[in-house]
Structure formats: structure tokens, C-alpha cells
């Protein structure tokens, strides 16, 4: 098969103040006609920079190509005159971006934004252009294309916006589409639809696609070939089947090994047997929370959003419950109500037999020793102006522990979460994302709580770091006899961490039970859709030869 795009020894330099010299280091690869090439890597691997370099979209003058050639056909794109390059962009090579909301101009109708590509590349009349746009909107299955044509981006859903982006990419039938994490910002069910659509369009039109992603699940779903990048270097490439099942490079092996399998965790026999005798730690009863949407100065009334619409659940001592749902399901609001960051409108929250609903912050203080929280964003969750020691010791100090004792304990906690105890004197910005999340966990543990509410604690982390943090949480759970209420959108993570699961949608619980039972036979159609949407769901089930051995040890499907 012939190559549509041939990258030879491409190097891209970073500005002087960056932490390394080259974003892309001597990378060579090809995208063949009629294939989907997935370029996989964690953050900082240089995969996006490489993609942008192909189209000359690097943020000049800070980031620039220092060597190599990029051939589209027989033309080297790096030496192409600006005017010719513009002809290639959008016409021959099109690009789809990660965040469709910001990638579209908010003040222009999406119809006009699609029309614009045809206008600059062809001599078609407005009527012909309109016909073509409607055609391609139909192609990407946008409902009612005539109406969408005159809609603004904010009037569309996230999935629709990404379909518009895809339509814009395909409107001139380019030879190559570069898709930079096009489904990362989307919910899992939407992601599944978009992936299916891309695959189908690709097969129908024979377009080559270079698909940038960090998610091996997505790779398993759509890739024909895979290229793995790390720190700007291409470490391995080959057919998807080979890489996914028999990765050769050690980095690829750890990366694939770190992907949590969809094999649910088994409830320990003890828990199952004595279900009736279990001690109830937290009980949520009929909880409701409605947000009166605020529209600012321009609108009198904004729609009221029922974020949590009557939720009841229990967390048992020593157990681990996953709260799973897509964005807008109300899972985070529920968590915030439980820890007292948000005041519920109705219902009760009972912690160890005490009703803590509607207590003031001062009244809640004694319960902080029982209930703690781990946050999502490791960069936002630590005060940049506080030393790590003070951050961790904060809780105990509030509870009346002497500062000296609290700091000594903080050192011990740092050791427990796998960091150097000397870190107490350093500031958060000196640590990586994974390390910061460990600090966040140490902070939550400092008051020796019984229950930790973890709100998407690993979703901001790279997959290899994700696994380490999840394993750490697991270890600590055992050694501290903790219960866990784990909020996540990721079914793989939920399966990995929690024996029990609650599935939420639109502020309500649609299904609950043991993770193993629900994964084996989901009852509610939403749960079924959710499970069916997990990218690469069949990959790790059918290939027991790969991945972390321990995860497979108790795999009933293996």
C-alpha cells in the first residue's frame, strides 16, 4: 500500500524555558492509504506537537521544526510556500481537534464555518456550497441539517459539535484527516458513537486517518496500525493486533499493563456472606439538590437544574462503592453534598448514625475526622502558597492536634504514600501530577478518617500514573480499614477499585449492585449502553496473554 503521508526524521524544538529541548525527536513514520494510524502517548509525549507540525500549525516562534521532512505525495510540506500550504490545509489534509467547543468560533453559525472551507478552496457558488454542506452534515448524521446549518456552536451538544468538526474535515474529501484526541472531551457513550462514525466514514471514503490518543481502549477500537511515542521519541510501531497483544518495547508493555481491565473486582467472601451483619457507615436517604441556574445580568430566569433527584444509598464499613455516570449525571454534586460542600434541598445524610444534613461548617467539624475527600485536579487541589507539610497537617491542626505533632505525622504519611518525608518543607509546584495526588491522599488520611469520598481522583492523570495511584488507594484501604465512595466516569477504573457499583443518570440511580453482577448482566438499558461504549471492551477480555498478570488471576471470563 502506498503512503499518503511520510514523515522522515522530524524534530521539533521547544523554547529555551521548557523542561526539555525537543518536543519531537527524530520521528519517522508513514500513514498509508485507507488506514487508521493511532499515535499513542501520555502527556508530554510530543504526539500533538508532531500532528500540528505536519500542517505547520505550531505556535511560532517558540516551537519550531528543526529538522526532517514531511511528504504529502511527493511534496515536502515543510518547505512549501505559505500560499500552497494553505491549499493543503483543509483541502488535502484536514484536522479535528480535541475540544469542539473552543475549536469552533462562538460567534459564527456552524453552517458558515463549514461553508468557509469550500469557499476558500473551490469556486463553487453559494448554493452549491450549501448543498455540499448539507450533504456532509447528513453524512455525519447530524439531525435536521438545515436547522443545524444556522445554529451557533453553543446551541449544539458536545457530540453534535464534534460531528460538525468531522463534517468540516470531510467536506472536501481530503486524502488525510489528522484527529487530535477527538473524543477525549466527550462522554463515553458519545465517544463510542463518534468512533463508530469515524471508522465507518473512513471505510466508505477510503480516507487515511492519523488518530492521536492517550487511550489504549480507543486504539483497540479503531486502529489499523499503532505508533507509540514517549518523550518525543517513537518507541514502537506496528499493526494494532501485534502491539495490543504482544508489545515488544518495555514502555509499551507498562502502558498496556496499566490499563485497568474491565474485569470486575470480586466482593470478598466475607462481605458477601455477612451482608446482613454489615455495619452501615454512611446512609443517604432521598437526597435532592436543585440548582437555580444563574444567567447573570442578561437573563431573569435560567432553567433550574435538578442535579440530584432523590438519591438513596448506603456505604458499609470497609467497603468500596463506585458512583458511575457521565457528565451531568449529578455524581459530583452528590459527593459534594455528602462532604458538606453543597447543601442538599431535601433528604438526609446519616454518618455513623448521626444525621449531618444541613449542619453548619462549625457543627460539621467533629465529623471531618470520620469523613474526608480526595479531589480530582492535583494541580488545583493544593494551595500553591502552602508548604506540603502544612497542607497535610491542616486537618489535624483544626481538630486540635499540636502543630509539631501534626507535622511529624505528616512525614509519616508522606512515607506511607510513597514520597520522601523531607517533602514537608517543599511547595506543591515542585511535584508532578501523580506525586501531588499522593499528597492529596495523605492530606485526606491525616485525620484517620473512616470514609473517603474520592471525586474522579485519577481522571486527570496519565494512565501509568493512574494505576500507581489506584494501587496506592487499594493498599491504604486495607491498612487503614477505610471505606471508599469512589466517583468516576470510567467503568474500567470502577471495575478495578470497587466491589459495588451505583450507576447514575440525570440525578437518579438507574442500577446498583455488586460490580461483578452488573458487569455480567446489566439490567437497565443505560447500564448496557454504558458498558457497550467502553472503548476496547473486547480487547482485554479475549486476549488473556497481555496485561497485568494479577488482574487476570481471578478473571472469570479468561
Amino acid at each position: 500500500m502506498s503512503a499518503v503521508l511520510r514523515i522522515e526524521n522530524l524534530s521539533v524544538a521547544l523554547p529555551a524555558w521548557a523542561d526539555r529541548r525537543l518536543a519531537v525527536d527524530n520521528v519517522s513514520l508513514e500513514v498509508l492509504r485507507n488506514e487508521i494510524l493511532c499515535v499513542v502517548g501520555e502527556s508530554g509525549s510530543g504526539k500533538s506537537v508532531m500532528a500540528k507540525a505536519v500542517l505547520g500549525l505550531l505556535p511560532a516562534p517558540h516551537v519550531r521544526v528543526t529538522g526532517g521532512r514531511v511528504f504529502y505525495g511527493d511534496r515536502d510540506l515543510l518547505t512549501l510556500p505559505a500560499a500552497d500550504m494553505r491549499g493543503v490545509r483543509g483541502g488535502r489534509i484536514a484536522m479535528i481537534f480535541q475540544e469542539p467547543m473552543t475549536a469552533l468560533n462562538p460567534l459564527m453559525t456552524v453552517g458558515r464555518q463549514a461553508d468557509e472551507i469550500i469557499e476558500v478552496h473551490t469556486k463553487l457558488t453559494p448554493a452549491q456550497r450549501r448543498k455540499r454542506v448539507i450533504e456532509v452534515f447528513n453524512d455525519v448524521r447530524l439531525p435536521d441539517p438545515e436547522r443545524i446549518l444556522s445554529s451557533y456552536p453553543h446551541e449544539l451538544s458536545g457530540g453534535q459539535r464534534q460531528r460538525v468538526m468531522i463534517a468540516m474535515a470531510l467536506v472536501l474529501e481530503p486524502g488525510l484527516v489528522i484527529a487530535d484526541e477527538p473524543t477525549t472531551a466527550l462522554d463515553v457513550t458519545t465517544q463510542a458513537q463518534i468512533l463508530r462514525l469515524l471508522k465507518e466514514l473512513q471505510e466508505r471514503h477510503g480516507t487515511a486517518i492519523m488518530f492521536i490518543t492517550h487511550d489504549f481502549g480507543v486504539v483497540a477500537e479503531i486502529a489499523d496500525r499503532v505508533a507509540v511515542m514517549r518523550h518525543g521519541v517513537l518507541v514502537e510501531q506496528g499493526p494494532a493486533r501485534d502491539i495490543l497483544t504482544r508489545p515488544q518495547d518495555p514502555y509499551t508493555q507498562t502502558l498496556i499493563g496499566a490499563v485497568p481491565s474491565l474485569v470486575p473486582r470480586q466482593a470478598a467472601g466475607r462481605e458477601r456472606a455477612h451482608a446482613a451483619a454489615r455495619e452501615e457507615l454512611l446512609k443517604v436517604d432521598g437526597l435532592e439538590k436543585t440548582f437555580a441556574g444563574r444567567g447573570g445580568a442578561f437573563s431573569f430566569r435560567a432553567p433550574r437544574v435538578r442535579a440530584v433527584a432523590g438519591i438513596s444509598l448506603e456505604v458499609w464499613k470497609g467497603s468500596s462503592l463506585a458512583l458511575v455516570g457521565e457528565s451531568g449525571s449529578g455524581k459530583s454534586t452528590l459527593a459534594r453534598c455528602i462532604v458538606g460542600l453543597e447543601r442538599a434541598d431535601k433528604g438526609a445524610i446519616v454518618l455513623q448514625g448521626h444525621n449531618i444534613t444541613g449542619l453548619s461548617r462549625a457543627q460539621l467539624r467533629p465529623y471531618r475526622k470520620v469523613l474526608q475527600m480526595v479531589f480530582q485536579d492535583p494541580f488545583a487541589s493544593l494551595n500553591p502558597r502552602w508548604r506540603v507539610g502544612d497542607i497535610i497537617a491542616q486537618g489535624p491542626i483544626v481538630q486540635g492536634v499540636a502543630r509539631k505533632t501534626a507535622l511529624a505525622e505528616a512525614q509519616e504519611l508522606l512515607r506511607l504514600v510513597g514520597l520522601d518525608p523531607k517533602a514537608i518543607d517543599r511547595y506543591p509546584h515542585e511535584f508532578s501530577g501523580g506525586q501531588r495526588q499522593r499528597i492529596g491522599i495523605a492530606r485526606a488520611l491525616a485525620v484517620r478518617p473512616k470514609l473517603i469520598v474520592a471525586d474522579e481522583p485519577v481522571s486527570a492523570l496519565d494512565v501509568s500514573v493512574q494505576k500507581q495511584v489506584l494501587d496506592l488507594l487499594d493498599d491504604l484501604r486495607r491498612s487503614f480499614d477505610l471505606s471508599l465512595l469512589f466517583i468516576t466516569h470510567d467503568l474500567r477504573v470502577a471495575a478495578h477499585v470497587c466491589e459495588e457499583i451505583v450507576v447514575m443518570k440525570d440525578g437518579q440511580i438507574v442500577e446498583r449492585g455488586l460490580t461483578a453482577d452488573i458487569f455480567a448482566s446489566p439490567q437497565h438499558e443505560y447500564t448496557q449502553a454504558l458498558l457497550a461504549s467502553v472503548p476496547g471492551r473486547d480487547w482485554r477480555r479475549s486476549d488473556p496473554g497481555s496485561g497485568s498478570r494479577e488482574a487476570w488471576a481471578n478473571d472469570p471470563y479468561a
Partner: protein, 275 residues
Amino acid sequence: MRGFWRRFLTNPRVALSLLWLAFVVVLALGAHVLSPGTPFAIVSKPFSPVLGDFLFGTDSLGRSVAAGLVHGARTSLLISILATLAAVAFGTLVGSIAGFYGGLIDDVLMRVTEFFQTIPSFIFAIVLVAILAPSGVSLVIAIATVSWPPIARIVRGEVLALRNREFVQAAIVAGQSDMAILVGQVLPNALSPLIVTGSLLVANAILIESALSFLGLGAPNLMSWGFQIGAGRAFLRDAWWLVTIPGIAILLTVLSINIAGEGLNDALNPRLRDL
């Protein structure tokens, strides 16, 4: 911190501005030494020209323009800095309460702030000084009254953004009291925009003070740059320096503060990696 000072001081525009500001501060502090006695004293015949017996000549009553400038520096700086401090204190209070507590308190306080931003503030300042009778204190009150809304809005915005940051929520979950969170967690992180806005506000206060003095609403016993221009405007045709020189003093001072303020902003928020 060292990086901050290096970024701040090595910017040539900032260095020049700071030099001029230092000069003005020295004039203001040493006014009674550099030019003893009252600047209202008649020292020579009227309208003696620039670079004659007196560095910048004399005005229509025979008062030394240079002495006026030196004492005017003291007045302008004192009034503007006091007014700014008052505005920053009040604006921070309003903004942090509104941002931290949100809800109805926020709504009410922000309506009030918007109200004070909507009304023609300079006319309001004129009315205020006219009613309080012109004096240094009424100038400070009037300038502070029209200057606090931007501070309140900025502080509110910062507090609102920081309040939703997870480290503040972590402090809530840790059980810290509201006051401790506001003072210990939130405000220190809102400091840099506050400092920058505050410094720019001093420049604005100098402009308001000089305009009020120009209109004859300055403190009657205090010499000021605006007053000098106001007193000299009738003689524009024959004695251009009476108006021109104090104007240049105002221009340079305000310009320097603006440049230094922007330099402060750039130094406090170095552009992160452009990726």
C-alpha cells in the same frame, strides 16, 4: 522571588519609570527642605520667565512655579495614596465578602458595586467635594468613593474563582473556619492582581485629584499640580509655562505609575509555556 525582581527591574521602561517615581517621592518627602516656607508666598514679580531667577519662572501673583511643583508633588502623592489605600481596603472587604459567601449577599453587594460603576463617578466626586467643602480629607473621601468598585469586582472575581478551586474546598473539608480560609487560603492567592490594580489606581487617583483641583475643588491651603494649571489657564496666551510644566509633571508621574504597574503585572505573571 529573585526571578520576580529580576524580571521587574531589568525591564528598561520599568527602571526609568521607577527612577522618575523615586525622584517625585524624594521631592514630596523633602518639600519642606527643598523649598522652605509656603509655596503660596510671593517671591518675585509676576510672570518671570522660565530659567530666569526661578527655575520654572513665577505665576500671575509672583509665586515660584518650582516651589509649587515640589509641594504639589507632596499633595498629589499623599492624597492619591491615601485614597487608594482606603479604596483598596473597602473594595477588598466588599469583594471578598461577596465572592466568598455568594448567593444573596453577593447579589446585593454586586448590585451596589455596579450602581457605583454606572453613575458618572467624576460628577459624583464633584458633588461630594462640593457638599463636604473642599479639603484634603474630602478629596480623599471623594476619590476613594469613586475608586473602590473596580477593586471590589476584581477581588470578588478572584475569590469566586479561588473559592471553587479544590484547595479551598479541601480546607472546608478539613474543617477550617471561613475567616481562616479567606485570610489564609484565598486572599494570599488573590494578592498579585490586587497589587497591580492598586498601583494603577494610584495613577487614576492622581488624575482625579488634579482634575478636581483644576476645577477649583482642591484643598484651599494645599498647593497642587492641578491647582497650578487651573490658576495659570487664564494666562495661556502669555505665560505658557504656567500650564505646561505642571501638566508634564502629572503626565510623567501617571505614565510612570502605569508602566511600573504593567511591569509589575508582567513580572508577577510570567507567561507560561506557549504550548
